[in-house]
C-alpha cells in the first residue's frame, strides 16, 4: 500500500498554547483513516494545518512522498516555542490552501461552509474551477463552451451520485441540514481530489442518517477510488468504517491502530471519560 499523506512531528502553537504537539501520522492509499479525540483535542487544527489554512509551527507534511509543507520555529516563535524537536527542521515551505487543493487534497468543514448565494449546481461547478483549462479571456467570451458543457455534465453526474440532482437549481442554503452535508462532500469531490478530508460529516445527524452516511462514505471510496481521512465523534460510524484510527488528546497522539485495538486501549477510555481519581 502506498503512503499518501505523511504528517511528521507537526506542532501547532498559538501564542503560548500548544494545540498540536509533535504529531506524526500517515494515511495510505485507499484507506479510511479516522482521527478522534475529545472536544478541543486539536483535531480540526490538524486538518487546518494539512490544508494550509494554518502554518504549522514545527514539522513537515508530505503528500505522495513529496514535501508540501514544512516549518520551524522562527521569528517570535523562536523564543516562545514550547514544543519538541526544536532544530529538527530548518526549512520553511508554505502553500496556500488553494495550491494544496490543486495537488489533490479536498476537505469539508465542520461548520458547513457552502456558498450561500449560489445554487447547488453552481456550488459544484465552482469547485471544478480549479481544474479549468480556460483562461480569463476565453472563459469570458464563451470560447470554452465545450469545457463548460462537460463540467456541467460531470456536475450533474456527481449530484446524482449524492442524491441531490433534483435540488440542483435550489439555493444551497435552502437545503435541509443533512443534504447540505452531502453537498459539501460533492463539492469537495468536484475538485477531483485523491485524498478527501471530512471534518465531522455526521455532526448533528440522527442514528439513521448516520448509518446512511456510513454507507455513502464507503460508496464514495469505492466508486471514486478515494482515500479518506476523517474526524468524527459518532463512534459507531468511526468503528464501523475505519481501517485505522488515530486518537489524540491535548494535541498529543495517545494511541493508534485498528478499531479493535483502539477500543481496548485504556488511555483512550481515560481520555474520553477522565482518569478515575482512585488510581
Amino acid at each position: 500500500m502506498k503512503n499518501i499523506l505523511d504528517i511528521e512531528n507537526v506542532t501547532m502553537q498559538f501564542g503560548g498554547v500548544v494545540a498540536v504537539n509533535n504529531l506524526s501520522l500517515t494515511v495510505n492509499e485507499g484507506e479510511i483513516v479516522s482521527l478522534i479525540g475529545p472536544n478541543g483535542a486539536g483535531k480540526t487544527t490538524v486538518f487546518n494545518a494539512v490544508t494550509g489554512v494554518y502554518e504549522p509551527t514545527n514539522g513537515r507534511i508530505s503528500f505522495y512522498g513529496e514535501k508540501i509543507l514544512e516549518n520551524y520555529p522562527h521569528g517570535k516563535m523562536k523564543k516562545l516555542y514550547a514544543g519538541e524537536n526544536r532544530g529538527m527542521y530548518t526549512e520553511r515551505m508554505v502553500k496556500t490552501p488553494d495550491r494544496i487543493t490543486k495537488l489533490g487534497i479536498a476537505r469539508t468543514f465542520q461548520n458547513i461552509r457552502l456558498f450561500k448565494s449560489m445554487t447547488v449546481m453552481e456550488n459544484v461547478l465552482l469547485a471544478m474551477h480549479v481544474r479549468r483549462t480556460s483562461n480569463y479571456f476565453t472563459a469570458t467570451f464563451c470560447l470554452n463552451a465545450k469545457e463548460e458543457a462537460a463540467n456541467r455534465a460531470k456536475a450533474e453526474e456527481l449530484l446524482k451520485a449524492v442524491g441531490l440532482y433534483e435540488n440542483r437549481d435550489d439555493l444551497a442554503t435552502s437545503l435541509p441540514y443533512g443534504k447540505q452535508r452531502h453537498l459539501e462532500i460533492a463539492r469537495a469531490l468536484a475538485t477531483q481530489p485523491t485524498l478527501l478530508l471530512l471534518d465531522e460529516p455526521a455532526a448533528g445527524m440522527n442514528p439513521q442518517e448516520t448509518e446512511e452516511l456510513t454507507a455513502f462514505i464507503r460508496h464514495i471510496r469505492d466508486t471514486f477510488h478515494m482515500t479518506i481521512f476523517l474526524i468524527e465523534h459518532h463512534m459507531n460510524l468511526v468503528m464501523d468504517i475505519s481501517d485505522r484510527i488515530y486518537v489524540i488528546d491535548f494535541g498529543k497522539l495517545i494511541c493508534s491502530g485498528t478499531p479493535d485495538v483502539v477500543q481496548a486501549d485504556k488511555r483512550v477510555i481515560d481520555a474520553y471519560l477522565g482518569v478515575s481519581e482512585v488510581d
Binding site: V53, T101, A106, F115, L126, V130, T140, E148, R187
Partner: protein, 385 residues
C-alpha cells in the same frame, strides 16, 4: 424538466436582447430628434458614463465582495490618459499655455484607441496598487483605496508633471464623438449612441465575466473566502483579476467622462464622487448589474434634472421658500438614507431585470391574482348565502 428549463432561459435571453435592441432604437430616435444640448441628451450621456463605472464597482464590491473606494482615482487615470491623447494638435499649444515648454506629448489618437488606453492605464495602476493593498481585510481595503485615489489626484496636479498632465490646469478642447463623426454618415447619431454603444459593450463584457467560471469564483470569494480557497481558488489571483478588471472599466468610464465634458481637471474626482457611485450601486442593488444601470439613470436624472426645481423655488407647480439653493441635495440624501435603511437590497436586490419575468408578473397578476380575488369574492358571496 431539463429541456423546459433551458428553453425557458433561451426565451428569456431572446426577450431581453429584444428589449435591449428596443432601447438601442430608442436611443437612435432620440439622437435623430434631439439637439445636442437638450437635457435628455446630456443626462443620458452622463448616465452611460456612470453606468459603466457603477457596474464596474458592482463587479468588485457586489460580486467579489471587495469593498474598494478607489473608483474615482481610476476614473481620473482613465480620464487623463484619454484626454492627453485626444487634444487636437492645433490647440495643444494653447491648452498647455501655462506650462513652460508646452506639452511633451505630440501624439493624437482616435477616440476609441484613447478610451481603451485610458482603461489600460487604470488597469496597470490597479495591478500595481493591488499587489500590496488587496491583502487587506474589508474596511482596511476601503480606506487604503480611498487613500490611493487621493494620492493620484495630488500627483496628477503636481507641477513637475505639467508637460504631461497640464498640472492643475484643465485639459480642454478635447475631441468629442460629435466632432469625430462630423461629415460621416453617422453624423446624426453622434449624441447618445456612441456612449450607449461603448457603455453597452463594457457592461456586456462584465456580464459575460460574471456568468463565466471566473464570475462564479468571484461570487464564491464574496460568500466565503475560506471555503473558496479550500475549493482551490487562488484568492490573491482572483481578487487581483477582479480589481484590475473593475479598474479597467472604471478607467474607460473616466475616459468617457472626459469626452462628455470635453475637458478634464482633477478637482471633481474626489472621494465624494466615489461615494456617489457607491450610492448608485446601493440604490440599484448590490449584486445586480441591471440594478446599477437603473440606479445610474435614476441618480443622475433626479439629481441633475427632475429635482432641479427644488433648488429654484418651484417644484411640481408648488412654490415655497423652503425650495432654495441646496434643498435638492437634502431631499436627495434623505431618499438615499431611506434606501439604505429600509430598502437595504436596493431596487433590484441581487436579481436582474428580465422581460420574461415582468411579462410573467403581469400574466400572474391577471391569471392568478385577479381570478383569485374573484374566487374569494365568490366564496364570500356563497358563504353569505
Amino acid at each position: 424538466m431539463k429541456k423546459n428549463n433551458t428553453s425557458k432561459s433561451r426565451l428569456s435571453l431572446y426577450c431581453n436582447l429584444g428589449a435591449l435592441l428596443l432601447a438601442f432604437i430608442l436611443v437612435l430616435v432620440i439622437d435623430a430628434t434631439h439637439n445636442p444640448t437638450d437635457m435628455l441628451v446630456k443626462v443620458l450621456q452622463k448616465v452611460c458614463v456612470y453606468a459603466v463605472v457603477a457596474v464596474s464597482m458592482n463587479l468588485l464590491n457586489g460580486f467579489t465582495g471587495l469593498f474598494s473606494l478607489g473608483q474615482a482615482g481610476f476614473m481620473l487615470l482613465g480620464a487623463y490618459t484619454c484626454a492627453i491623447f485626444i487634444i487636437p494638435d492645433e490647440v495643444r499649444g494653447q491648452v498647455y499655455g501655462y506650462i513652460e515648454g508646452g506639452s511633451i506629448v505630440h501624439v493624437r489618437l482616435p477616440l476609441i484607441v484613447a478610451i481603451l488606453l485610458g482603461g489600460l492605464v487604470a488597469a496597470l495602476f490597479a495591478f500595481l496598487i493591488g499587489l500590496p493593498v488587496l491583502k487587506l481585510k474589508s474596511d482596511y481595503l476601503a480606506i487604503a483605496t480611498l487613500g490611493f485615489a487621493e494620492i493620484v489626484r495630488t500627483i496628477v496636479t503636481w507641477e513637475k508633471l505639467g508637460p504631461v498632465t497640464n498640472g492643475s490646469f484643465p485639459l480642454s478642447k478635447l475631441n468629442t464623438f460629435r466632432k469625430a463623426l462630423e461629415g460621416t454618415p453617422f453624423e446624426k447619431f453622434s449624441l447618445v449612441t456612441p456612449y450607449f454603444l461603448i457603455a453597452g459593450i463594457c457592461i456586456a463584457v462584465i456580464v459575460l465575466i460574471i456568468r463565466s467560471t471566473y464570475g462564479r469564483a468571484f461570487k464564491a470569494i464574496r460568500d466565503d473566502e475560506i471555503a473558496a480557497e479550500a475549493m482551490g481558488i487562488n484568492l490573491a489571483h482572483h481578487k487581483r483579476l477582479s480589481f484590475v478588471t473593475s479598474s479597467f472599466f472604471a478607467g474607460i468610464g473616466g475616459a468617457l467622462f472626459a469626452i462628455f465634458q470635453a475637458s478634464v481637471s482633477a478637482a471633481p474626482f474626489t472621494s465624494a464622487m466615489t461615494y456617489e457611485i457607491l450610492l448608485i450601486v446601493v440604490i440599484g442593488g448590490i449584486g445586480s448589474i441591471t440594478g446599477s444601470v437603473l440606479g445610474s439613470f435614476l441618480f443622475i436624472a433626479s439629481s441633475e434634472w427632475w429635482l432641479r426645481g427644488l433648488d429654484s423655488g418651484k417644484f411640481l407647480g408648488i412654490s415655497s421658500p423652503v425650495f432654495r439653493n441646496g434643498f435638492r441635495l437634502v431631499v436627495f440624501s434623505v431618499i438615499i438614507m431611506i434606501f439604505v435603511l429600509f430598502f437595504r437590497k436596493g431596487i433590484m436586490g441581487t436579481k436582474e431585470f428580465d422581460v420574461v419575468k415582468i411579462g410573467g408578473f403581469f400574466k400572474k397578476l391577471f391569471t392568478e391574482t385577479v381570478p383569485g380575488w374573484l374566487k374569494k369574492i365568490k366564496h364570500k358571496e356563497a358563504a353569505d348565502q
